[in-house]
């Protein structure tokens, strides 16, 4: 809300400068976002939180200001109007929806002359950001700013049957609002109607048919209390937010209905804009409830953490308009003012006391209860472990978007979780895979001319599933181009990554999570090169996929080299991991290493060779490594030579040559038998 300092000062005479006032209001919870100059002097732009609709008015802000500055608050004096009069015979007000409109008051003004409002009023309205329109409209706006109660003026002769009916809209009804827009009304919105048609959307905007203008002679002035949810529903349904709806959605003082109406009539009379008819038509089906809250002094000190005197507590509350009606020892009975329906519990009162006293007085203590055990979550530790492996392998972590467009790279075969009413394709759904985000970083690196990247991300992916969605942690990596590391010795320059690079990363992750070595199986995942990709299997579970990106999928990345990627389910790694602790005792005895170089058909997968060798080896086999793969003109077509290195060791003795030779012979025989291996003598 924008408010000139001079207007605030009228009701909260503190003598403060704009800066002092801004600080005081801000520290009371009414943040002054900026201060501007105007021909009325400084204007404060005040952010009012949604629970404090009462502060969308000059009196509301002045009351807060005065309380914070410990100065008196000067209320607006409104002369009442005697009961009776003719008003009741001139209009008929019926509340047909009392659940949504607990009170509707109206007054009639005759001999209206629509002209300009006085300059002082126009200036205050302009400073508050409202455009002066004409005397009557300006007065209704002025009173709304002053007291917070939105008012509306109808051209009374245009109301058919001189009737006001507060009711829900019926199917097929429509209204042309003051802004000239014709608006169909959804059924059940709270409207003001005359005997025939809607004439206003209650609490939002009036209708053009009954708008006051230069020819207006008699007006009906409306001041009503509308249900906040009803106004919010209308405002949302019509996509129309107004000064009135903004206030009604928050809170408008139900006790201020008639007062505001009379204040407006006083101003109309005073400024010569018309002659108010005596009497108020006040349809008031239900009395506004009065709230009483019990407050214990000890609780105030306990919650705030420092001691306050009973006197201080009382004065703080009274300054904000609360009444302390009873004081029984430690407990006060506090009556809440009608404009503060947000205060319903003791804790709400304690906050008010804290605000007025000022949090600056609050000491800094430390929680003194029982010690608690701190620690990271399981997921946190698992993510850290995955990151350690990949950072150790030289990859750079990125943090990608969870919201992505539906792209081929995102399509891992699962169903996507879509965002309802997405505003753009980039924000239209949740990622199923980390690869599109990684590819996006690569694409931008390529555009910048630095296409060599080694990236990873550890983050959540989402899939829609019949029984509800899944949200799981995934580990993704994408590598492209040999890292440009400026090394002057060729030996220090890393090789460009290929399938085996990402397969190695998968193996390292499996080792870190203690799953045992993963098996590589052909995959039909279309995002990858069909001959250079694999699904990664641990036990009998597929936990991920690795390989070269399919050139068709990578086409729009404009790559000159092959890109390789990996994506593993962190949950899959954890599930397959060994949880029991334990270790293998290192042997004190020497090991024996022997090589074997079988020639094998090139289409026999290494995995089969490895398995055959392992199956044939005795328990003393400590490790087996592939140290070379050779295929070339020296070998028969369609064959390749593998160099396998076996290390044997026993825990309790030095192995004899005979033992090792026997083991090697067994392995050799198995390779001949199982894999058709031949050996050069």
């Amino acid at each position: 809300m924008r408010l000139s300092l001079e207007w605030l000062e009228q009701h909260a005479p503190t003598g403060m400068t704009a800066d002092e006032a801004a600080t005081t209001l801000t520290m009371a919870g009414l943040e002054v976002e900026e201060t501007e100059e105007s021909d009325l002097g400084p204007v404060l732009n005040i952010k009012v939180t949604p629970n404090r609709g009462d502060c969308l008015s000059v009196v509301g802000l002045a009351r807060e200001m005065a309380a914070a500055a410990r100065k008196p608050f000067v209320d607006v004096a409104a002369a009442g109007t005697p009961d009776g009069g003719d008003a009741g015979s001139l209009v008929r007000v019926t509340i047909e929806a009392p659940d949504l409109c607990p009170r509707y008051a109206a007054r009639v003004v005759r001999n209206v002359t629509i002209g300009e409002s006085p300059e002082w009023m126009q200036r205050r309205l302009s400073a508050a950001g409202m455009r002066p329109i004409n005397s009557v409209v300006d007065i209704t706006n002025y009173v709304m700013l002053e007291l917070g109660q939105p008012l509306h003026a109808f051209d009374l002769p245009l109301l058919r049957g001189s009737a006001i009916r507060v009711r829900r809209s019926k199917p097929g009804e429509a209204i042309t609002t003051l802004d000239g827009a014709e608006r169909p009304l959804a059924e059940g919105l709270l409207i003001i109607a005359d005997d025939e048609r809607p004439v206003a959307v209650a609490g939002v905007m009036g209708g053009a048919d009954t708008e006051i203008g230069p020819k207006t002679t008699t007006i009906l002035l409306e001041s009503a209390h509308f249900d906040r949810k009803a106004v919010r529903r209308s405002s949302k349904a019509l996509g129309l937010q107004t000064e009135a709806s903004y206030r009604f959605e928050r809170i408008v003082d139900p006790a201020g209905v008639v007062r505001s109406l009379n204040r407006a009539c006083d101003l109309i009379a005073e400024l010569g804009a018309g002659v108010p008819v005596e009497g108020v038509v006040d349809a008031y089906p239900g009395a506004a409830p009065v709230g009483t809250v019990t407050l214990r002094l000890a609780r105030v000190s306990q919650i705030l953490g420092f001691d306050l005197s009973a006197d201080e507590v009382q004065k703080s509350l009274q300054a904000l308009g609360f009444e302390v009606t009873e004081c029984e020892g430690e407990a006060l009975a506090v009556q809440t003012p009608s404009w503060r329906p947000d205060v319903v519990r003791e804790i709400d009162l304690i906050e008010e006391i804290g605000r007025v006293v000022g949090y600056g007085r609050m000491p800094e203590k430390l929680p003194s209860g029982a010690t608690t055990q701190g620690g990271d979550s399981d997921l946190g530790r698992q993510m850290t472990l995955a990151r350690e492996v990949l950072v150790g392998a030289g990859l750079t972590e990125v943090v990608g978007h969870s919201l992505v467009a539906a792209t081929p790279l995102d399509d891992d075969g699962g169903e996507r979780v879509a965002i309802r009413t997405a505003l753009s394709s980039e924000l239209s759904g949740l990622r199923r895979s980390l690869l599109p985000g990684l590819a996006d970083v690569l694409a931008r690196a390529v555009r910048r001319g630095q296409p060599q990247v080694a990236l990873f991300e550890v983050a959540r992916v989402f899939h829609e599933a019949p029984g509800g969605h899944t949200e799981t942690l995934s580990v993704g990596a994408l590598l492209h181009g040999a890292p440009a590391n400026d090394a002057w010795r060729s030996a220090d320059r890393p090789a460009p990554p290929d399938f085996y690079t990402v397969a190695g990363l998968a193996q390292a992750l499996c080792a870190a999570f203690k799953t045992g070595p993963p098996a590589m199986r052909c995959t039909s995942d279309g995002r990858f090169h069909p001959g250079r990709s694999a699904e990664i299997v641990v036990g009998d579970a597929v936990i991920g996929v690795a390989g070269e990106l399919n050139p068709a999928v990578a086409a729009d990345l404009d790559l000159r080299e092959r890109a390789v990627a990996l994506e593993l389910s962190l949950a899959g790694l954890v599930a397959a991991g060994r949880r029991t602790m334990g270790f293998v005792e290192p042997s004190a005895f020497p090991g024996v290493t022997r090589d074997l170089a079988p020639r094998i058909a090139a289409d026999t997968p290494y995995q089969a060779v490895r398995q055959a060798a392992l199956d044939a080896a005795p328990a003393t086999l400590e490790g087996m490594a592939l140290t070379d793969v050779y295929s070339g003109p020296n070998l028969p077509a369609g064959t390749r030579s593998l160099t396998l290195s076996f290390t044997f060791r026993a825990l309790d003795r030095t192995l004899t040559d005979d033992e090792v030779e026997a083991a090697m012979a067994a392995i050799r025989a198995a390779l001949e038998r199982e894999c058709g291996a031949t050996f050069v003598a």
Binding site: R345, I347, T372, D376, G400, D486, P494
Partner: protein, 326 residues
Amino acid sequence: MDDLTRLVAEAEAEVATAASTAQLARVEAAYLGGKGALQAQLKTIGSLPKEERPGFGARLNAAKATVLASIEARHGDLAAVEAQERLAAESIDITLPGAPPLLGRIHPLTRTIQQVKSVLIGLGFRIVDGPELEDYAYNFAALNYPEDHPAFDEQMTFYVDDTRLLRTQTTALQGRTLRGARLPLRCATVGRCFRYEAVDATHHHTFHQVDVFMVDEGVAMADLKGALKQFAGAMFGGDVQVRFRPDYFPFVEPGVDYSIYWQGRWLELGGAGLIHPNILESHGIDSERYSGFAFGLGIERIHMIQNGVTDLRWYLANDLRFLRQF
């Protein structure tokens, strides 16, 4: 001068002039070796009269010891010089660039999250995790949001359907954690949040938050202030002052936003307050006996303050030139 005396003198002269350990080795062979000159003197012993033999033997041994001592002394000198020369010959251009190790790095947000977690764990907080795709109930209803209230307008929300949304605040986890919790409890959660905001230097539709909360007997606003001072001091270093300003969040009462005075200026960090008794009671916690505080702040904001970064968009842009600096 007899032969022995002369041989010793000759040997010492040759030792003194030997220019290398190799030459010295030849001198040693020439005098002390099996066919060396001094060794040859042993053969003359047979031609001496019997009574002179012991005396000659003793003199011969003394002569050999003298020469050997000279050789050893000289060898020490020569070997030291030769080692020096050998090392000098092996010297390289130490100003050539080192071989660059292949270094990976974590994202600055991860680093900040790790720092936040580490400080909180040290203060006895247990880190808990919750879903980013959250139930409407946990994100709003369980956090004391009044039904159909303008408070929602401050958190433009990505909805999947009527019951599921992308969490707008990590506070959403409080309900999940408080349900059936054993008290006292100190928990914190760090993670990603989403709001339908236009992206600019200080707003993003995707951002990270830490939410910290504790429930115990007699937790007061003053405890919150002290805990924040300790937390902010650990994060930013030095002695920080904490300032509260009243603010509104449906899930805390009293509700404040807090600033710290750090390096000569006040920095607004986030929202805080005492957990609303409505929330405690909805989980069956006696709000007379127990109270709790909660505070939250943005991970990006922490990193921006620590490093003087002025644009939030850098964090999800993943420009490697940016990431490499942290």
